[in-house]
Structures are given as structure tokens and as C-alpha cells.
Amino acid sequence: MAVLDCASTLSEALLEHDFAPFFGTPCGILAPLYGRLEAAANLWTVSREDNAVGVAAGAAMAGKSPVVLMQNSGLGQSVNAIASLIVPYQIPMLLVVSMRGAPPDFTTENIVMGRLTEPILTQAGIPTAHLDEENLAAQVGWAHGLVVERRQPAALLVPPALFGWRA
């Protein structure tokens, strides 16, 4: 699938599966997805990832099924918010986390977080899946079942090249 099509497919799948609102934080890998979401939905940029998680927690308790989009470096900023707020209070939200430090990104400053990302989420007890370009709609459907229907958190990991990012 062409890379821009992946951003469109994912954006459309999220909207079709009743996810909203969207809270974005700075990320080059996710930029094409931001472009699609911005055109179609409420996408608010938050200046730091743990604050985005906090705002999404408020939105979730007000009845929404929010999505926080962040780079995995921002997951590092958010660990305490996830560990002491999202998981123990079981607050539903979808985390869309881009994978710096995973192939083809071998930048030294991102390798460690690349290695830590999935263990952090799974050890926190958050169901996590790696997005696969052939399977995007089905994977969003899986996230819908967890977040929208069962009202619990879930995470989708975005490989660096999914939307065309290059090292």
C-alpha cells in the first residue's frame, strides 16, 4: 500500500470506529497522519505527552473515546501518567505511539526507547499491537473493541516507515 494511503486508511478507520477527540504531540513519523486527521476531525496539539494523556483522561471520563498520538520518546515522559492514572483508574484511551529507534531508524538517541517501548506498555498491562500496513482497519477494529466497547486503554505501535518516514 502506498505510504500516504496508509495515513488515510488509518485516519478513516479511527473515525469510522468512533474514536474522538484526537490529541497530538510533535512527531515526524506521525505527521502524514496528523494531516489527514486535521482535515477530518478535531485534532488538538498538546505541548507535552503526559499532559496529553491527562487531557485525554478527562475527555474519556466525559464519555469520549480519545486518542493520544505521540512518539515513543513521549511515552517516556508519560510513564507515570500511565502507571498511576490510566491503568489503576482503568481510563479508556487509545495510544498511537510511533517507534523511533526501530528499523530503519538507527539513530543512537532513540535506540534505547525503541527497545523499552513495548515492554513498558505490556508490563503496564496495556494491550498493544504493532500496526501492519495490510491489516490497519482490522487492527483499529481490535482497538475499538477494547477502548470504545470495553472502556479500557490500548496501544497501537507505528513502525517508522509506515507513513513514509526515512532515516
Binding site: 503526559d50 499532559n51 485525554a56 474519556a60 498511576s84 492514572l85 482503568q90 481510563i91
Partner: protein
Amino acid sequence: MNKTAAVRAVIEATSAEPIIFTTGYSSRIAKHLANRPNHFYMTGSMGLAASIGTGIALSSGRRVVVVDGDGALAMNPGCLITAGAFVHLPLFHLVLDDGQYESTGGQEVPSRRVNFTGLAEAAGYSDVWHVDDLNKFRELLHSELPGCATPTFVHCELTERDEPGPPPRIEADLSQHQLGFSGHLASCRDRPTTPRQPIDDSAT
């Protein structure tokens, strides 16, 4: 005015409005004084009370009260930028300032030279207030809270210590607490008299 008196004044000035109490003694004092369904006790995630309040106000259009602390605000002043970006956010953000991290042993907050109201104003809050007197605080709650329609910041300087021996830790099942609070927000949403619409604006 001590922390217990300030929390009591907030509870007395509110009925169904959602209130987010920050971690530490503010949550414990509030639960001890009156454990109402509109209370959310944030037992961890220090610094995120205002961000949670921002998300509720943004998504529901409802006026939200945040009872924050000076230590939590010093830990995450970025919450001011997050809230201040939304021009029409009905957020009433109170900071109870006792100059110390009371629940961790009374260490001094390194904020003696920080101008909290100046920070809030610079971050985009439309109204900022400073009070250090209980009667003035009550008057402010009475005059400003009911019509709050934009990010509003109140720096409450606490001039007296609480009685020794804080209320007990919050031992509740946190997921059940969340469900109860979310249920309260839903019941408000379903009430036909709710006058406000969800906010649909951004930084501009």
C-alpha cells in the same frame, strides 16, 4: 486560611460541578469533608490535575474546578500552556499554596521567587486572581465561579497551618472511583437543563 478551610470553601461553593483534587492532602481532606460524586481524587500523577480538568471542560463544555497545589504546579507548569491554549475553556483552576510538599514531609517548594499568577496570565488564562484571606476567597468563589467561561486562575496563599494529623489515605478502588465520577458526568450530560455545548475551538 489553611488548606482545610480552603478546601471546605470550595466544596461549599459547589454542587454538581466536577472538581479534580490534586494528589496529597487536598484529595484526602476533600474526601474526609464530603465524599461527593462530583469529586475526582487524583491519588497519583502529580501535576496532571489541571490537564484532566481541561479534558473534561473541553469535551463536555461543563465548568470544571481544579484544586491544585503549588508543588504540583511547579512540577508541571506546562499544564498552564495546555489549558491556556483554549480561549473558551470553562476551567476554574485553584492553586492552594502552602510553600511546601506537605504530604512528603514538608520539604520547601522552590517557588519563592515564582510569580504563579504571572505564569498563568502569560500562558493565556484570561482571569488571574491572588487571595490570602478566607473571606475574600469565599467572595471570589461566589462572584467568579458561577460565570466562569474562560481559563481562570486563582492563587490561594495559605497563611496558616492545618491541625496536625491529616485525614487517612484514599484506599478506595480507583477504577470504581473513576466509574462513579464518569457516571456523575454522564448524568449531568443527560440532564436536559444542561445549557452548554461542547467547545469546538482551538488556540485561535
